[in-house]
Assembly symmetry: C2
Homo-oligomer: 346 residues x 2
Amino acid sequence: MVNSDMGIKVDRNKVALLAGVSSATVSRVFNHPEKVNKDKRETVLKAAKELNYKPNINAAILARGINGKILLLDNNKLLKYDSSNSYYYSWLYVDLLNQIRDVLKGTVYELVISNLEDLKIQDSFDLRDFDGIICFDIDDIDDLSLVRESGIPYVFGHHVREIPLTNKLFTDNYYGGFLQARFLRETGHIKTIYITGMLNKLNAHKERYNGFSDIYSCKNHLLIEGRVGKDGGEESIRTVIDKIESKEYTAIAAVNDLTAIGIYFELMKRGISIPEDVSLIGYDNLPFTNLLPKRLSTIDIKIGQLYKQSAINLLSIIRNGTNEMPGNFKPSLIRGQTVSRNKEIL
Amino acid sequence: MVNSDMGIKVDRNKVALLAGVSSATVSRVFNHPEKVNKDKRETVLKAAKELNYKPNINAAILARGINGKILLLDNNKLLKYDSSNSYYYSWLYVDLLNQIRDVLKGTVYELVISNLEDLKIQDSFDLRDFDGIICFDIDDIDDLSLVRESGIPYVFGHHVREIPLTNKLFTDNYYGGFLQARFLRETGHIKTIYITGMLNKLNAHKERYNGFSDIYSCKNHLLIEGRVGKDGGEESIRTVIDKIESKEYTAIAAVNDLTAIGIYFELMKRGISIPEDVSLIGYDNLPFTNLLPKRLSTIDIKIGQLYKQSAINLLSIIRNGTNEMPGNFKPSLIRGQTVSRNKEIL
DNA sequence: TTGTAAGCGTTATCAA
DNA sequence: TTGATAACGCTTACAA
């Protein structure tokens, strides 16, 4: 007690001395407790407690020949106000961060955050300083090569085809689109409008649409390809405002929440009530949507859970060299208040 | 080249061998380059490059007797949907994170994130594993004692009085409230409504109000103390809706953006136009406010910059044992679109 | 089951 | 200005 309180360094040797064992035994008590006699183990633990002993992680790491660090590598698009839309996703980032930390909590690994920009331009750090890499939102094939060629175990959350499935964890966009459609159909909507970005530009958009159109055939939905985001949503909805006012279409699905928000406010401005006049469902479940006058119906991509699983997978790759976990992550429906039963058909 | 590409370990000794110097000289080249002969320095650097040598940070840290880690300790209120309001501040968290990382980039320190809950309940980690602690949004005096008693250098971003000024960095709430008021006065508003939480409950609220009422005397503003947040804003504004409709009061200031958003939507619902019928200004500059139909006028607390400065201060404390930097951080005005010139007096 | 001792890759002191 | 060399605190063969 006194020792530690006085700030005098207490290491394995001091504990060993007090417990009357060798320092190797102390080490074993902490790393392979099953390999040491129960009585001795307790004596050591007692001595350690008395001395307020705390293992030095860095020394352990050095002795083990590892780095003790997992890298969360992001594309640093977050927080760039100008590249606008991705900025708002930083909200989800904290969730993801916490989930990954949760997985790493019991391990020797510490989570370190960095981004591609620092890696490439400044080379202020080296991938070799890490035992594993979790890529967040990295979709450029060249960027990925950088990671793959480092030889460090990695996992990856997107859709580049060249990546082995083992290292990949992705949100099931098809299923998400399907959920949107199924919800609208269940609430009695016959004819719907689907608002998205240019489908040939982004695979995720295409997949979400495929899931949606699996339920709503071409005759039963109107597809609008345009810009995404708040402004895009406003623009797109204007082109079909007459078809909403005429009640020809009774529900709208958007490819993401930001676009849905543009639609939401544009309709509001024109005195069209949601969901009384038209139903609306988004995609992503940005926390923002919970602050709207009517809580937006949307799809929760559960990004925190997705990256939690990716951290688990990474650990498995580091330890076993491989990983058997699922790579496919299913989103879920948030019912919200912006979709209501279609009264036109009652 | 070959060596490193083949994954064979290359350390100081290999570099020393190739450069024809001792390993101590190699070490000096990297740590105290001024202490080594220029020619030799270049030879060493060349050899290091050729071998693709990378210093082992953990070994350095161990030898130096430091931990190589700075802790960002938060109160883990973020991400708790139920404790609602703080949840939305996670948006700002990413900003702060990036800024701190930016400061630490040139140092041996890595940023590690953790929270009080893990520290107290699980004791899954030990404050002694860190060289410095940045406390984020920790306002409980007992929690702070934990940090202070660890003896580790720390900085701290709030208003507990017992903390020495050196270790404290705070946002100037008085000035922020003053900015709100000055902006409203400049745009010609004579009588205003100030909506806040219970003033005796939270010092920050009190300070903001003091700044505001420094410009608007009691006769010129109506103070509403109530619940904060979206619901609170809705409630509070309802109690004075007649005074807004009658144009007796032409502008509203809210203690924070979440409250302002409640006010915003409640007014919208009642057909009161912002800023045509009444002006509105919030506080915090949550990114959210940029997505509203009219971009909310608000006060930017610049939390990223604040924590950047706090990281700089912490480094100064670690290195010099003390710190001379300013502890007071001034927010700035975001003009937005929800405050307009008061036409009543034109 | 336990102890001895050789690393792990640095830093830094002390002589030269 | 340089080179030996002793830490740094731990892990882990290997031997006992």
